[in-house]
Symmetry: C2
Subunit: 439 residues, 2 copies
Amino acid sequence: MKKVVKFGGSSLASARQFKKVGEIIWSDKSRRYVVPSAPGKRNDKDEKVTDLLYQCYDAASQGRSYKKILEKIKNRYNDIIDGLGLDLNLDHEFQRIEENFVAAVGRDYAGSRGEYLNGLVMACYLNYEFIDAAEVIFFDDNGNLEAEYTDHELSERLANVERAVIPGFYGAKHDGTIKTFSRGGSDVTGSIVAKAIHADMYENWTDVSGMLVTDPRIVENPEVIETVTYKELRELAYMGASVLHEDAIFPVRKEGIPINIRNTNRPEDKGTLIVESTCRKPRHTITGIAGKKGFCSINIEKAMMNSEVGFGRRVLSVFEQYGINFEHMPSGIDTMTIYVHQSEFEDYEQSVIAGIHRAVEPDTLEMESDLALLAVVGRGMRSARGTAGRIFSALAHARVNVKMIDQGSSEWNIIIGVKNDDFETAIKAIYDIFVTAEL
Amino acid sequence: MKKVVKFGGSSLASARQFKKVGEIIWSDKSRRYVVPSAPGKRNDKDEKVTDLLYQCYDAASQGRSYKKILEKIKNRYNDIIDGLGLDLNLDHEFQRIEENFVAAVGRDYAGSRGEYLNGLVMACYLNYEFIDAAEVIFFDDNGNLEAEYTDHELSERLANVERAVIPGFYGAKHDGTIKTFSRGGSDVTGSIVAKAIHADMYENWTDVSGMLVTDPRIVENPEVIETVTYKELRELAYMGASVLHEDAIFPVRKEGIPINIRNTNRPEDKGTLIVESTCRKPRHTITGIAGKKGFCSINIEKAMMNSEVGFGRRVLSVFEQYGINFEHMPSGIDTMTIYVHQSEFEDYEQSVIAGIHRAVEPDTLEMESDLALLAVVGRGMRSARGTAGRIFSALAHARVNVKMIDQGSSEWNIIIGVKNDDFETAIKAIYDIFVTAEL
């Protein structure tokens, strides 16, 4: 049994948090590969080490005063080292970092040092081998992950290593230049490591007890999702539910390795299990509700539209020409509606409209802005007849006007368009009918 | 006040029916322009004169025996003439027709003679002027209606004609060759005449008291729709509700002339009024339900599909390449479903699948056949919150599995995909919840 365990910044923000992490790791011998983030915030007013590093680097590389910030960073690590009673001195490491900052070797280098140093501390604390991510995770000259090469190198490197700490968030190009993933990229590192060692489980430890059914800013104290499939997760994540870095899914998904989202502060909670597929009945008909504001719709009418082969393709070509992704395209017989992100669309609005007029000569073309899209997602919806009825009855009862409905053959995802103003009301109504009412 | 009145074949099948028509026309002095069809069936086992004409022509032009069929046709007209006590002899007309049949002047000529002769009878009976459609309705060499030229010629010809009969269904090319519309084309003639004279109303007299809320083969004795907009009609007609010839809408729609569907056998019924727009509240939330069987869906999944600009366009291009119209394209985040007519798709199935694989490299591609689409249409849906809830609750209650939902910004049309087997049940359930329950 082999598990990869990744810990987020808040799980490693202080010696106290490190001790919790240690207990978690030591309580299960299969937790053999550890991917740490950089120390995060200890409280609301605190700063993340990674942010301090960027500030420090910018100041040093521009010849401004940076010592004070560097001191803050050093103190963060020394507090942890002292709190854990470790026999570890990072002075030499900090000296090299300072030199590199002044030499302006790159912002990615700066951003990566939080994980690097935390990895050293973690390896010392656990008495695990430290493996620098720069030696096992590779990017090409354009800065794209070399997935296959990395997988090969990493699995070879770890083949004879029983227990190791590999810092998250970064890797290197072939010339040795440090390159980071985008923010939250330690999730990706964990996933890559899990794939390389064919882990049985990828545990992602954070400060919440799993993925929530919906946004806690909208519904007070929403339930935790017990089990979610990759597909469900992807749909919910696309619509705004944030759990993992988007790119963290694909490496483990390919291998069918489940991900377990856990809470470092409540290790007794089972968290959320993310799986390829499962026979487990979901607790509720729906798995989750997510959504985003800021869409607009372009509504095209043309008599006999439906008998023009190529009509839809020509309309979409216009959006493509301006690099605009369309989100959904519900259609009637002589009507077609295109949903796009308002922010992507606004700059090209008039060009797109002119383009559509040229392309298909519509009878009318109308736009509506300030729309929100909701995704109601759940593998349980497939077998539960009446889901759509419950959703739309609940929305009607909550006096929400449904602007758009889109449900394809997947049958486990209904997309609903509402006005921005109705967004929160709609989410609450759907949560209540499926979760509160089913409890 | 000027009305164009078109009478269908069943309204003119016998002298008895002609008398009803006469009463209708004489009861309203504004019914000044009459467009007759050919005599239709007098009972279930009867033959339509137009069908007899085609049979007769085919026999005559191929040198087979045709006299017996011609005699049948002559008898039909003579029965009407005698029954009305008219002083009219069509022998000369029939002689010319016979000569032309033997000379094989064209099947369209044959098909048009039913209306032509019925027009002569009607003009004599009403004492209206007879105007041969061949002199006022024009087709180009490719057989397409010359709409503008026809409009101009027709309005000039009718400018000083107080009352006239213009036979339906045909016109002529510039060389005099007779050309017909497709079956049911007398509706188109009526519409063209209404447009040309700027009629206040186009009355279309038939054997039903208007357009029905849904298919009487599925729901017993469904209600008649009082008022329907052109747009609603178009959506319902596309989905299988048959009332008028499709091309009959556009000429009058352009001019904003309302169409009134009336029943020759129940002239006291108000029938259905087809209008551009109306403030009239519809009697029910929905105006009509129509649907068709025989669709199939192609369900495409691909991780991160949504971030590929041009994905949808590329998929649709494949269908376009094979001349296949897509009906609807509901989508999730990483899923996209394309609904097409099974009959159009079957021949190219494997080519299209291969094309999609080449175009977008989907993770999975699944198909489902034997699906039906329903359109629930109604301008009243726009202001009635909860329509979707009622529809889907009713379907759930009827144990219908909803395969697809598509509602765009028009908000007065919801398209629903179900299995062919659930089609009738679904229509009944929706009819009951909106019509039976609202009575």
